[in-house]
C-alpha cells in the first residue's frame, strides 16, 4: 500500500513523525512497538470484528440516494456512518483503541473532543469496558454541542472544560496531551483523528479503514465493480476521509475528494481550510500543514462545524495533497447548511454539519451520468439541531 511507504519510519512522504517532549517518549515508543502486532493478532481481530458487528452495528449501508442521484446526474451512494452506534464513524476507532489500551494494561482513558462525537464514542467504550474516562472539550464546543456533553456525562465520563486559546478542538488536544504527560503510567491517550505523533495517524487510519473495506465489497455486490469513480469525505483532522480513502489510495482510477471547512470563506480570516491556506509545520507532535502566522503561531480556525474546527490536518492527507493523489475542496458554513437542508428534504436524512461539507462538494464537481460517487456520511445531525434551528429559521 502506498499509505505505508515511508521515507523514514513514521512518515507519509515528508509529513508525520513524532515531535514530542521526552516525557512522552516511552509511551509513544511502547505504542509504536506493539500496535501492529496487536492489530494483527487473531484474538484482537476476533474481539474487534465482533464488537463492530454486534455492538456498533456494522456493516453500515451503502445507500443509493435516488433523489440526489437524479439531481446530480450520477449514481450517488451514501456510506451511512451516521447509522453506527453513537451516531458517527468515531466509534470504529474508539472500540479498536480501547481494546488496545486494555492490552497495554491501562486503566484510564484520556480523549479530546470537538463536536463531541469522539468524546461520546470514547465514553461509550469506556462504559462498556469498565475504564475510567476523562474527556477534554473546549468551552466553546461545550456550549455549541450541549446534547453530546450530557450524553458523555450520563455515560460516566469526566468532562474537563478547556478555557485556553480558542477554547475548541486544538486547545482540547493540547490539554489532553498534557494530561497524558502527567499520567504516563496508568493512562492511555485515545486520540480521535488521524493526527498527533506517529503511530497515531497510522493506527487511526487502520481502524477507520473498515469504511472503505465495506465500500469495496458492497459495490461488488450491488454494482459488480469493486471501486467507485469518486469518494468524497469531509476533513477536519481527516479520520473519516482516511477510512473512506484507505483501500482506494493505490487505485488511480478512483478520484479522492476531501472537503475542508472554509468557514466564512478561505480568505476571510475565519476558516478551517488548512490545505487552502496553511503551511507545513508542527502541530500536536506531527509535521503537517497547519494554519499559522509568519512567526509560526498557530492561528485559531473557524468553522460552524465543531468537528472540522481544527487548524491542522492528518499527515496522510498532507501527503495526498502534496503528491496530488487526492483533490481537496472546501465548503463554507453557508454551503454546508444548505447541503444539510437539501439532504434532509430530499432523502429524509439529517446529516451532521461535518458530513454536510462533503455533500456540499457535489455542487462543485462535474459528473458523467455513469459515474458512481460515494459520499461518506460521517455522522448524524442530532447534535447539530440547535445550530440548524438557529440558522434555518424554524
Amino acid at each position: 500500500m502506498k499509505t505505508e511507504i515511508l521515507y523514514r519510519k513514521g512518515y507519509y512522504g515528508e509529513f508525520g513523525g513524532a515531535y514530542i517532549p521526552e516525557i512522552l517518549y516511552n509511551n509513544v515508543h511502547e505504542l509504536e512497538s506493539y500496535f501492529l502486532d496487536v492489530l494483527s493478532s487473531p484474538d484482537f481481530k476476533k474481539e474487534y470484528d465482533h464488537l463492530l458487528k454486534e455492538y456498533v452495528g456494522r456493516p453500515t449501508p451503502l445507500y443509493h440516494a435516488k433523489n440526489f442521484s437524479e439531481k446530480y446526474k450520477a449514481t450517488i451512494l451514501l456510506k451511512r456512518e451516521d447509522l453506527n452506534h453513537t451516531g458517527a464513524h468515531k466509534i470504529n476507532n474508539a472500540v479498536g483503541q480501547a481494546l488496545l489500551a486494555k492490552r497495554l494494561g491501562k486503566k484510564r482513558i484520556i480523549a479530546e473532543t470537538g463536536a463531541g462525537q469522539h468524546g461520546v464514542a470514547t465514553a461509550t467504550v469506556c462504559a462498556l469496558m469498565n475504564l475510567d474516562c476523562a474527556v477534554y472539550m473546549g468551552q466553546t464546543d461545550i456550549e455549541r454541542q450541549a446534547p453530546n456533553v450530557s450524553r458523555m456525562k450520563m455515560l460516566g465520563a469526566k468532562i474537563i472544560p478547556v478555557h485556553s486559546g480558542s477554547r475548541s478542538l486544538k486547545d482540547a488536544t493540547n490539554e489532553a496531551i498534557r494530561d497524558w504527560m502527567n499520567n504516563t503510567e496508568d493512562s492511555y491517550y485515545l486520540i480521535g483523528s488521524v493526527v498527533g505523533p506517529h503511530p497515531y495517524p497510522d493506527l487511526v487510519a487502520r481502524l477507520q479503514a473498515v469504511i472503505s473495506e465495506e465500500i469495496k465489497y458492497q459495490l461488488t455486490e450491488k454494482f459488480n465493480r469493486s471501486s467507485p469513480d469518486y469518494v468524497i469525505a469531509c476533513i477536519g483532522g481527516g479520520s473519516n476521509a482516511a477510512g473512506a480513502f484507505y483501500h482506494f489510495i493505490d487505485d488511480a482510477n478512483v478520484k479522492l475528494i476531501g472537503v475542508e471547512a472554509a468557514g466564512k470563506g478561505i480568505h476571510s480570516g475565519l476558516t478551517a481550510a488548512t490545505l487552502a491556506i496553511g503551511k507545513p509545520g508542527i502541530i500536536h507532535g506531527c509535521k503537517t500543514y497547519l494554519i499559522q502566522n509568519a512567526d509560526g503561531q498557530i492561528t485559531e480556525p473557524h468553522s460552524i462545524s465543531a468537528g472540522l474546527d481544527y487548524p491542522g490536518i492528518g499527515p496522510l492527507h498532507g501527503n495526498l495533497f502534496k503528491t496530488q493523489r487526492a483533490q481537496y475542496l472546501s465548503a463554507t458554513d453557508e454551503e454546508a447548511l444548505e447541503a444539510a437542508m437539501e439532504l434532509t428534504r430530499k432523502e429524509g436524512i439529517i446529516p451532521a454539519l461535518e458530513s454536510a461539507h462533503a455533500l456540499a462538494a457535489l455542487q462543485q464537481l462535474q459528473f458523467r451520468k455513469e459515474d458512481i460517487v460515494v459520499v461518506s456520511l460521517s455522522g448524524r445531525g442530532d447534535k447539530d439541531l440547535n445550530t440548524y434551528i438557529n440558522h434555518l429559521n424554524y
Binding site: 523514514r8 513523525g17 513524532a18 515531535y19 514530542i20 517532549p21 521526552e22 516525557i23 517518549y25 516511552n26 515508543h29 485556553s164 486559546g165 486544538k170 493540547n174 496531551i177 498534557r178 504527560m181 502527567n182 504516563t184 503510567e185 503551511k279 507545513p280 509545520g281 508542527i282 502541530i283 500536536h284 507532535g285 499559522q292 509568519a294 512567526d295 509560526g296 503561531q297 498557530i298
Partner: protein, 257 residues
C-alpha cells in the same frame, strides 16, 4: 571554538542555578532587563523562552506568560532584534528554549546564524527528535557554535539514554518527574537513583518542579544544579521592580531557608 556553556561547567560543577523566563513577559521590553537582573543576582545560566501559541510541555504559568508575550507583540524575529545587544548586558551563557515550529518558520539555518550573531550559546527544543537534529540541525548548530541540549526523564530506558548520550553536548536536561512544567517533584529519591544509572558523560541540570530552596537542594544533591522557570515567572509577573524581585528570588534559593 569555546562555548560559554562548556566553560561554565569547566569552572563550576555544583549548585548551578539556571533561570528560565519567557521573552517579552510581563512587558515587551522586559527581556534584556531580566537578563541584566539575573546576571547581577548571580545566576549561572539563563534560558530565554520563545513564546509559542501551543506549548505542549508547559503547565499553566508558562502557557499564560507565552500568550501574554505573544499579545505584547513578541515574535522570534523581534526577540532577535532585542538580543542583538545581549552581550553588552551579560557574559554568562544564554540559551534559547522554544518549540520546533518557531524555528522551522524562521528557517533553520537563519535561526542558528542569528543565534551566533546575538551570542546565544545553546538551544533547547523539547519537541525536536534526535534523528531530525542529526539530519537537519547538527551541522548548522556546529557551524554557528550553538549547543543543542537534550532532555531525559526518570523513565528513559537504556536505549534512549544511549541515543541521547551520543547526541548531547554541554549538559543533559533531566526532567524531574513525569509531568508538564510547574508541577511538584513527585519522587526526589528517584532522581538520585536514575543519574548513576544513566552513567552520563556530561553534567546534569534538573528541571520541572523546582521552585524554592528545598527543591533546589534536592535537585543539587542529585545533579549539578537546577533549572527554575514557572516560579520565577510567577514572581516577576507580579513584580513592581524586576531587579529587586530577581535578587530576592535568587537570594532565597541560595541562602534563606
Amino acid at each position: 571554538m569555546n562555548n560559554r556553556i562548556e566553560k561554565l561547567f569547566q569552572n563550576k560543577d555544583r549548585d548551578i542555578i539556571s533561570i528560565f523566563f519567557t521573552a517579552g513577559y510581563p512587558n515587551y521590553n522586559d527581556t534584556l532587563e531580566i537578563v541584566e537582573a539575573l546576571d547581577s543576582a548571580g545566576t549561572d545560566l539563563m534560558e530565554i523562552g520563545i513564546p509559542f501559541s501551543d506549548p505542549l510541555a508547559d503547565g499553566k504559568t508558562i502557557q499564560e506568560s507565552s500568550s501574554k508575550a505573544i499579545a505584547n507583540g513578541m515574535t522570534l524575529s523581534n526577540l532577535f532584534d532585542q538580543l542583538i545587544t545581549l552581550r553588552k548586558k551579560t557574559q554568562k551563557p544564554v540559551i534559547l528554549m522554544g518549540y520546533l515550529n518557531s524555528v522551522l518558520q524562521y528557517g533553520i539555518e537563519a535561526f542558528y546564524a542569528k543565534c551566533h550573531e546575538c551570542g546565544i550559546d545553546g538551544v533547547i527544543l523539547p519537541d525536536l527528535p534526535i534523528e531530525e537534529y542529526e539530519m537537519e540541525h547538527k551541522h548548522l548548530a556546529e557551524k554557528f557554535n550553538v549547543i543543542v541540549v537534550f532532555l531525559l526523564s526518570p523513565l528513559s530506558q537504556h536505549n534512549r539514554v544511549e541515543q541521547v548520550k551520543k547526541a548531547a553536548k554541554g549538559f543533559v536536561y533531566l526532567v524531574s518527574s513525569n509531568s508538564t512544567t510547574g508541577n511538584e517533584i513527585k519522587n526526589s529519591h528517584q532522581l538520585e537513583e536514575v543519574i548513576p544509572r544513566f552513567n552520563l558523560n556530561l553534567p546534569v541540570l534538573i528541571g520541572f518542579g523546582i521552585k524554592d530552596k528545598a527543591s533546589f537542594e534536592t535537585a543539587c544533591k542529585a545533579g549539578n544544579g537546577a533549572i527554575i522557570g514557572s516560579e520565577f515567572i510567577r514572581r516577576i509577573g507580579q513584580s513592581e521592580n524586576i531587579k529587586s524581585t530577581t535578587e530576592q528570588f535568587i537570594n532565597e534559593l541560595k541562602h534563606q531557608s
